[in-house]
């Protein structure tokens, strides 16, 4: 029982890091440009499809991964120049509607090109198989690789924003867009670059997470909602917040699914315990979000509104 408990803790952490992969790009775009991008899930889908198609064509997951980064970044650049650029000065409402429209376009466009059936995408041979963890549990190598990738992305983002010139500009852009324009920085290009970076992160997440899931049209939507929950809990625009929010949500969800039916079975019969327990578990992360925002209306690490 105890080793199962430990394994579930690791699962919770792993699912949190997976969420962070998805949420990092969203929070970057959100923080810098103040843009609600509902189409972030579509970019995630683009990444997964690009990886699946190229991997099937060339037989190499790694080429697929490169393709997913490029395809998502390219889609991001196109979307930014054609649509998003016109929305920065609009209110959130217009952004919601426009990116809602983008979801329809991406989803049906993808279905038009690739058909209505899910695509195949599998874990690369290098990362297939399992390892025995201390404590005896068998754990898929690929899930450990996801943890590593997520932590790398987190570290990369911290370095990028804290230590590079682009990072300085991004931070300046978050603070005051008029000021950086006055400093002679081409703000249009900066925003295109940031949006493309956010899109590439979404595409990377799509390729990685797509190997464990179904690569199909609409795969981005549940992810999108979860990613929003994460960045709102963490505080919008904060990379640290997104990381901690992700892990909090991952833990809450995994442990809730595991423990709630068990806990309820001590007070009621087994079958109603499993069904009530899982019903509660599916509501749990939203309850967590409401609770966090009730106590801290700007999220855990958000700037005061």
């Amino acid at each position: 029982m105890f080793s199962l408990f430990l394994e579930q803790m690791l699962n919770g952490f792993q699912s949190g890091v997976m969420l962070f992969l998805m949420a990092s790009g969203l929070t970057l775009v959100f923080g810098v440009m103040g843009l609600i991008n509902l189409a972030h899930g579509s970019l995630y889908m683009v990444g997964a499809f690009a990886c699946a198609v190229v991997a099937a064509w060339t037989g190499s997951f790694w080429l697929g991964l490169v393709a997913s980064l490029m395809a998502a970044a390219l889609a991001g650049v196109l979307v930014e120049i054609l649509v998003i650029r016109r929305l920065y000065r609009r209110d959130h409402l217009d952004q919601v509607l426009a990116t809602f429209a983008l979801i329809l376009i991406f989803s049906e466009g993808t279905r038009w090109i690739f058909g209505s059936f899910p695509l195949f995408l599998n874990v690369p041979d290098l990362l297939a198989g399992t390892v025995i963890l201390p404590g005896g549990a068998q754990y898929p190598i690929f899930r450990l690789a996801i943890i590593a990738a997520g932590l790398l992305v987190a570290a990369g983002l911290f370095l990028l924003i804290g230590k590079t010139r682009l990072g300085t500009r991004i931070r300046a852009g978050e603070a005051d867009r008029e000021m950086i324009a006055a400093l002679g920085i081409n703000i249009d290009r900066l925003y295109t670059v940031v949006f493309a970076l956010g899109a590439a992160l979404a595409g990377l997440a799509g390729a990685f997470v797509g190997t464990t899931q179904s690569v199909q049209v609409g795969m981005g939507e549940p992810v999108l909602i979860l990613a929003f929950v994460v960045i709102v809990i963490g505080g919008i625009g904060s990379i640290k917040g997104a990381l901690i929010g992700s892990i909090l949500v991952g833990f809450t969800d995994t442990m809730g699914r595991f423990l709630l039916p068990l806990a309820l079975s001590t007070v009621t019969d087994a079958s109603s315990a499993t069904s009530i327990g899982s019903a509660l578990a599916s509501m749990l992360i939203y309850i967590l979000m409401a609770l966090v925002l009730f106590l801290r209306p700007s999220g855990l690490f958000g700037a005061k509104a």
């Binding site: 959100f30 609600i36 649509v83 016109r86 959130h92 409402l93 217009d94 919601v96 509607l97 426009a98 809602f100 429209a101 983008l102 979801i103 329809l104 376009i105 989803s107 049906e108 466009g109 279905r111 038009w112 909602i225 929003f228 929950v229 709102v232 919008i236 069904s275 899982s278 019903a279 599916s282 509501m283 939203y286 309850i287 979000m289 409401a290 925002l293 009730f294 209306p297 700007s298 999220g299 958000g302 509104a305």
Partner: protein
């Protein structure tokens, strides 16, 4: 002059909404009446949201919660009445009902209570946080409805016979349309009065500047909460009508797509415009109806069109036709 143009457009919209079903009735095209009834009901939901969103600046991404609560009020009351099972036997017996008036009252009260709780928590936040926390509450209720077996879970709940209204045969499409149209008219009138009232001015003030309102002794939180509750009640009423239109409720009424669609109606028509939701819902349903049968990937052109409207027709359809609004 510009205000006049908007008034003219509003009158044309109202006239179309009434004339189309009458012509359809004369021509025997019953389905068109059903379609226009759907427009009226969704417009009513939009009128509700418009009070919070358009006038109060409260961007709620969770109004499907109230739409669904209204729908389930109708479904649950009717199913209990049809099965002759009381809803509660303690502390006193409450039985179901198939009377629309009773159902509307319950839908209004239930959505008001839900909005009071949700609003009290969510209105502590603002901006994007508000958008997302309202979404979170709607998702909570959505997952609850899916997994709660008593009223059908994801299968939903059928109302085999449309609920009744004294003196009318509600199964006759034109009578049911009349009911929905009258309620829509009442809601439009109510929201027009509300905006011009002292409360409306206070709401406008609270939207512009919290601090200044506090300094003149008005509590912006209570004003916003009241607007949120009123808004939810109207959307909840629309939900009850929608359940009767389809003779069916299901958790899909509570899904985030529904929240998004109600929002789309409001924005498409023109935020904060009295007839915005009517124009928005009308256009959306028309597109869905025309494109839906024509082409497997019909949501693609729908998406492109929505995008063009939001990019190039600021102020929505009404804004496009009537020009930019003059601020009072």
């Amino acid at each position: 002059m510009i205000m006049n143009r908007e008034t003219i457009i509003n009158s044309v919209l109202a006239a179309l909404l009434i004339a189309i079903p009458l012509v359809a009735q004369a021509m025997g095209e019953i389905f068109i009446i059903t379609l226009v009834t759907k427009v009226a009901i969704l417009a009513l939901a939009g009128v509700g949201l418009n009070i919070a969103l358009g006038y109060g600046g409260l961007v709620s991404f969770g109004h499907a919660a109230f739409f669904g609560i209204g729908g389930y009020a109708a479904g649950i009351l009717a199913s209990h009445a049809l099965n002759y099972q009381p809803i509660a036997t303690w502390p006193f017996e409450i039985s179901g009902s198939t009377q629309m008036i009773v159902i509307w009252a319950v839908a209004l009260i239930a959505s008001a209570l839900a909005a009071l709780v949700i609003g009290a928590i969510t209105l502590r936040t603002s901006g994007v946080y508000f958008i997302m926390i309202t979404l979170a509450f709607a998702q909570m209720i959505y997952y609850f409805a899916i997994s709660w077996p008593a009223y059908g879970g994801e299968d939903g709940l059928s109302i085999y016979v449309r609920n009744g209204f004294p003196g009318l045969n509600t199964l006759d499409p034109i009578s049911f349309f009349a009911i929905c149209a009258v309620l829509l008219a009442l809601a439009l009138w109510f929201s027009a009065v509300l905006v011009r009232s002292r409360f409306g001015l206070a709401l406008h003030g609270a939207r512009q500047n919290d601090q200044r309102m506090k300094s003149v002794g008005i509590a912006p939180f209570r004003i916003k909460l009241t607007a949120f509750v009123i808004s939810a009640m109207i959307t909840g009423l629309a939900g009850a009508l929608y359940a009767d239109l389809n003779r069916f409720v299901s958790p899909s009424m509570l899904s985030w797509h529904m929240s998004g669609e109600i929002m789309v109606f409001v924005i498409l028509g023109g935020v904060g415009r009295l007839f915005g939701p009517v124009a928005g819902a009308g256009l959306y349903i028309l597109l869905e109806h025309l494109l839906g049968g024509a082409f497997d990937y019909w949501q693609l052109p729908l998406g492109v069109l929505l995008l063009l409207v939001v990019l190039f027709a600021r102020g929505g359809l009404i804004g496009l036709l009537a020009g930019e609004r003059k601020h009072a």
